[in-house]
């Protein structure tokens, strides 16, 4: 049985992942803003087999509360083996271009809040010399594209942060897993036209848990995105700037 904290637990990918944990009998703390929804999810996870399912009210953008929230989660579970950071927003790129305060909001919820949480969690796991941190990044962080570079910037920042943190914690037996989903069919992407590249949250969840089991460092989910992003990263800049990707 693993003791797991999930932050941003009402997100579709987080909830699907929590179900995989629950079916294995893990103990969970679900953190997020919508306490009513968290309670529904917690009740569901208990029926699915979770040893424990606690809820914890937390606005990830309230950085001052991170320390106490993580303390509370640790108290509930009597320790912490895994933390999954899954909160995020997909703002409208166009709006962010016109109003930088919106871009700041995006960067806060997708990057700064993640770094703050990672910092608190990393210090604790470093001290206990064990644990795993899992963060939902995105393929959008692999290259800045005109269609969503604010979101991409946040995810790129998280990726670089994770890379440094992973190296820092390596000798302390703590792994940092960065998950880079491609297109996932969730409420966050409801407005998009879906095609064959789209995956369901259930599949992403399975891949996340499998990656945690083998203590992977970075995964693309589904894995064919590694190839797609390799190609996108390899497009020479003179051509890339002409593509309206």
């Amino acid at each position: 049985m693993k003791r797991i904290l999930i932050i941003g637990a009402t997100s579709a990918i987080a909830e699907a992942t929590a179900r995989v944990f629950a079916a294995r009998g893990d103990a969970l703390v679900l953190a997020g803003r919508d306490t009513q929804q968290l309670s529904r999810i917690a009740a569901d996870l208990k029926i699915r087999g979770a040893a424990q399912a606690h809820t914890l009210e937390l606005d990830a953008n309230d950085f001052g509360k991170h320390e106490s929230a993580i303390q509370q989660a640790t108290d509930h579970l009597g320790g912490l083996d895994i933390a999954l950071i899954a909160q995020g927003t997909l703002g409208i790129q166009n709006d962010c271009e016109k109003d930088f305060s919106l871009a700041v909001k995006e960067l806060n919820s997708n990057a700064i809040s993640v770094m703050s949480l990672l910092t608190v969690l990393a210090n604790r796991m470093q001290a206990q010399n064990s644990g795993q941190l899992a963060v939902i990044g995105s393929v959008a962080g692999d290259r800045g594209r005109p269609s969503n570079y604010v979101y991409g910037t946040a995810k790129a920042a998280v990726a670089t942060f994770c890379e440094g943190l992973r190296a820092r914690l390596y000798s302390h037996n703590v792994n940092v897993l960065l998950i880079k989903p491609g297109f996932v069919d969730t409420p966050m992407t409801a407005a998009f036209k879906k095609g064959p590249l789209w995956a369901k949250p259930d599949l992403i969840a399975k891949l996340i848990v499998r990656a945690l089991d083998r203590r992977a460092a970075i995964i693309y989910t589904p894995s064919f995105w590694a190839l797609i992003m390799l190609i996108i990263r390899s497009i020479p800049r003179p051509i890339f700037v002409r593509l309206k990707l």
């Binding site: 929804q37 999810i41 569901d44 029926i47 699915r48 064959p196």
Partner: protein
Amino acid sequence: MNLHGWGRYPIIDAQVTHVQREASALQLLQDAQSKQQALTLRGLGRSYGDSSLGDHVIDFSLQNRFIGFNQEAGLLECEAGTSLRDILNTFIPKGWFLPVTPGTQFVTVGGAIASDVHGKNHHLDGSFSQYIESFRILTGANEILECSADQHPDLFRATCGGMGLTGLILTARLRLRPVKSSDILCRSIRAENLEQLIALFEEHVASPYSVAWIDCLKSGTQLGRSILMLGKHAEDGLLQVAGDAGLTIPKMFPGELLNNTAISAFNTLYYHRSPKTMAVQRISYRPYFYPLDSLNDWNRMYGRKGFVQYQFMIPKTSGANSMRKMIEAIAASGKGSFLAVLKTFGPGNNNDLSFPGEGWTLALDFRFDDGVLALLDRLDGMVLDVGGRVYLTKDARLKAQCFRRAYPNWEKFEATRARYGAHGRFASAQSLRLGLL
């Protein structure tokens, strides 16, 4: 976005909104009201025709959480988007099974209520809604009502089998069936023709599950050549969840491969493969109940034009000869598919639009082509003339006047919809075609 049912016919352009929370369902309904838009409800999209298609579709398949489970009574409360697969995967290890299951696990509880689905045990156990203790439904009057056989019974009877036209089911309480094993003891018996098959059904009426696979290309003395498959839950062994599907039908599968020669050859092979003797086989619940679930996207097999599935019911009172005439007409058309399933129904229930009624039902696929609609219209006439019905969950083309003859309670259904504010608020391409308000 382009949207279709399981038959991939018709395809329409729809705006789809996912619901993940009850509060957002309420909000959506109010927004639709202010814009005077009717909403179409959709779960996993496994109804074959156009019953989950419309301009503004509410997809509630993400509304899929368990709420409570009473281990003594086997009473499960869950959100309406919960899939039957999810229920099986979670509760089989605890010794519980679905009381009634259709031929796929990929349907939601809400959809199963809206279609009042039946299974291979209808002759003994009736249909899905008979195991629904209660549900909570969001009506067109923006009210959430608790609904059961005793509470708002009119709305209960209209909603069960009501094709999602009475309101949005939010949560439901379902009675599960205790089992000691996840295995099914099954036994196949060959029947050389329809008369033999019907006699076998009667002889084995006590078998908890029974269904026959029937070769609809055979005529004359071989008309109705079939294999009857009986089943019951094993009394011992493991409680084990079956693995997931392996094969996926590719997107551009050439439907022309499924021509009559191929189907006929397949049918003959299949018939002779099954043993003449009545040896009992022990198999997992999945191949028994959900043989096609192991073939992802099997609906692509019929090619780009899609297919229509036709399922009708012939009342016992009209005699087996009526079924014989139906099969003769299908065999003569030469259009029948390899998947044709015949089973006996026990008595129907008193829901306004539930499909099953005492008699026999036959379901088969027709690859979509120009002649199919005319053929089905002709079959409709034959079914209605003997007092039968056509299953709305499979339907993409039934005419309004035929619907009214097949479902004489439609006026009662409409009156109940009016009382609960459903008119103009909940609709589908199907309901508009069938002339419902």
